[in-house]
């Protein structure tokens, strides 16, 4: 069955605003905290998100600082404090923060934790 243009358009829309991740996050939050009034809780979460975007405050959207550190340490198995460029690109792809053919500059040095954190936060804000 060929996908109609409306379907493609809808798929594009979902990609662009990362709706799937958002809905996934909301559902997991609901199931984890199990509030008495799910709609009110969802409204409060969404309000916080909205304010976070407007004011530019780093909101624990999908990952917070500790997760980023944890991820970095998992990739940096030898504990040198840096990860290779390939690992860095893979990590960003897994987080959904960069696309397959995006060309990240390879400045010859290895990526440190700070650079990794900075890049992840920067991309989060762009969403």
């Amino acid at each position: 069955m060929e996908t109609s243009s409306r379907e493609l358009q809808a798929a594009e829309y979902l990609e662009k605003h990362q709706i799937k991740e958002l809905v996934s996050y909301l559902t997991s939050a609901l199931l984890f905290f199990r509030p008495e009034k799910p709609k009110e809780y969802l409204i409060s979460l969404l309000e916080r998100l909205r304010i976070a975007k407007v004011t530019g405050v780093a909101f624990p959207f999908f990952m917070d600082n500790s997760n980023i550190v944890a991820m970095f340490e998992m990739m940096d198995s030898s504990g040198r404090g840096t990860i290779s460029f390939v690992q860095y690109k893979e990590a960003l792809k897994t987080l959904g923060l960069c696309t397959e053919d995006e060309d990240l500059q390879d400045d010859g040095h290895k990526i440190t934790l700070d650079k990794f954190k900075e890049e992840v936060n920067k991309r989060m804000k762009e969403i």
């Binding site: 605003h17 709706i19 409204i43 969404l46 975007k53």
Partner: protein, 479 residues
């Protein structure tokens, strides 16, 4: 990083919470609205949608040939559900809209309104507060496939579509008796629906174009168009026969509109079967376990297994078995918890029967957190139960079980040596039934959303009823 390497041990509270609060449907509705409108800024849109909180308001379309009673049913449903009624007439009569005046002009000229204009009118009307908060009922629109498609492109989707149908001859006859009250707009009939008050009778008018010829022409037009409209609403359509008294049609329509459709939500059945001894609980449980791969938990069986395996619980239970006394509730619950906490029960779901016997056991079950999400009461009259149980026999040589009426033994020789289980004697059965009925009233009150079935039919029919009870969402209770 990879979530799929180790299997998730999801605590059972999560799916229970999800089911009770209909989280899946909530998210699905929100996603649908997002995709239909595709706003530039999804988050404020979602906040607004959640504030509106109108996932469950009625959104109904009623279609049908002329004289089938559409408008009557639509008006009654409106009053009952407290929603807004939209018909061609009252859309055009809207005084505040430029499109409405345009439409009125065209209607007076040509007796029809062009589809584009009509659909625009509908869109305007549906955006008003009362339609959003309390729902809407469309009477007689869409008439053609073109209208149906246009409505769909604007994102207006009904949740229930009712199509009334009746044989043409009945409709032509019926239309001849139609009368309208000019003040209220209500439709009456000379034979079927005559108003009781004489003052209404006096002011009734005969509407124009109800002669046989005109009705027949309208019917032809209707049949031509409806065939193309019906496939647009595949899963939400229901055809109700209009060839019955108004009240019957109305009740059928009302129950349909208040029922929810099957959802795609993930669902692990946790079924509880209650009923007197001999009502077929074990058989149904076995059938369910086989078809849906649920775990069949029979309380009596669990206890006997514990004794036979000589587990720690078994040792404690054995003296009760020997003295033929009932096992105490606390012990029973411990054995049950052990079984129901195992991973296969949590993942696949379970069918429980044989317990709870009374209100205390039911409360204990609840407090341990084993809440069934479907409860069935199997009702069988006393005589049937007696028939089923007292005629049970077993052949001591082969171990084969027979029933003197439903499954008689093939030869006289076997029949001669059959034995009856002393627990199946008449007095014993009567005692157990009395015990059950004493407690059943309390249990029925506790499990308010239980479904009662007639157990006095052949097992596969009962099984089908149970299946439909599990698969369809629980009926909404009318407040």
């Amino acid at each position: 990083m990879d979530a799929a390497t180790a299997p998730h041990r999801i605590p059972p509270e999560m799916p229970q919470y999800g089911e009770e609060n209909h989280i899946f449907e909530l998210m699905q509705n929100m996603l649908e609205q997002l995709l239909i409108h595709q706003p530039e800024d999804p988050i404020p849109f979602m906040i607004q949608h959640l504030h509106r909180d109108n996932d469950n308001v009625p959104r109904i379309v009623i279609l049908g040939p002329p004289a089938s009673g559409k408008t009557t049913i639509a008006m009654w449903l409106c009053k009952h559900l407290n929603s807004s009624l939209l018909t061609l007439e009252n859309l055009i009569l809207n005084e505040f809209s430029y499109t409405a005046t345009e439409a009125r002009r065209l209607y007076l000229q040509r007796k029809t309104v062009p589809s584009a204009l009509l659909v625009q009118l509908i869109q305007e009307r549906l955006a008003e507060e009362d339609c959003i908060k309390q729902g809407w009922i469309l009477d007689g629109i869409p008439e053609t496939r073109e209208q149906a498609l246009r409505i769909q492109t604007l994102g207006i989707t009904p949740r229930h579509v009712i199509v009334l149908s009746a044989p043409d001859t009945v409709l032509i006859e019926r239309n001849l008796g139609k009368r309208i009250d000019p003040q209220t707009g209500e439709i009456y009939h000379t034979t079927f629906d005559w108003p009781p008050e004489s003052e209404i009778q006096n002011r009734l008018m005969v509407p124009e174009d109800i002669s046989e010829l005109e009705t027949a022409q309208k019917l032809l037009e209707y049949h031509r168009n409806i065939v193309r409209v019906i496939p647009s609403y595949p899963k939400i359509l229901k055809v109700i026969s209009a060839d019955q008294p108004c009240v019957d049609v109305f009740y059928q329509a009302l129950t349909y509109v208040q029922s929810n459709h099957r959802t795609n939500a993930p669902f692990t059945p946790r079924v509880l079967l209650l009923g007197p001894v001999g009502s077929g609980k074990s058989l149904q449980a076995a059938l369910l376990a086989q078809k849906y791969r649920l775990v069949n938990v029979c309380c009596g069986q669990l206890l006997k297994e514990a004794v036979a395996d000589r587990t720690t619980f078994g040792e404690l239970i054995q003296p009760f078995f020997e003295k033929e006394m009932a096992v105490p509730d606390s012990l029973l619950m411990k054995v049950l918890s052990q079984r129901l906490d195992q991973q296969d029960c949590i993942q696949k779901g379970w069918v429980l029967h044989g317990v709870p016997r009374d209100l205390d056991q039911a409360h204990l079950l609840n407090s341990l957190g084993y809440n069934p999400n479907r409860v069935f009461f199997l009702n069988v009259p006393f005589d049937s139960i007696m028939e089923r149980l007292t005629l049970r026999r077993i052949d001591p040589v082969t171990g084969e079980r027979y029933h003197l009426m439903y499954k008689p033994p093939p030869t006289m020789e076997i029949q001669a040596r059959l034995l009856q289980n002393p627990k199946d004697a008449e007095e014993q059965v009567k005692l157990k039934m009395d015990l059950f009925y004493r407690n059943s009233a309390d249990l029925e009150q506790l499990y308010g959303s239980a479904i009662t079935l007639n157990g006095d039919q052949d097992p596969y029919t009962v099984f089908e009823y149970i299946e439909s009870g599990i698969i369809n969402p629980l009926p909404k209770k009318i407040p």
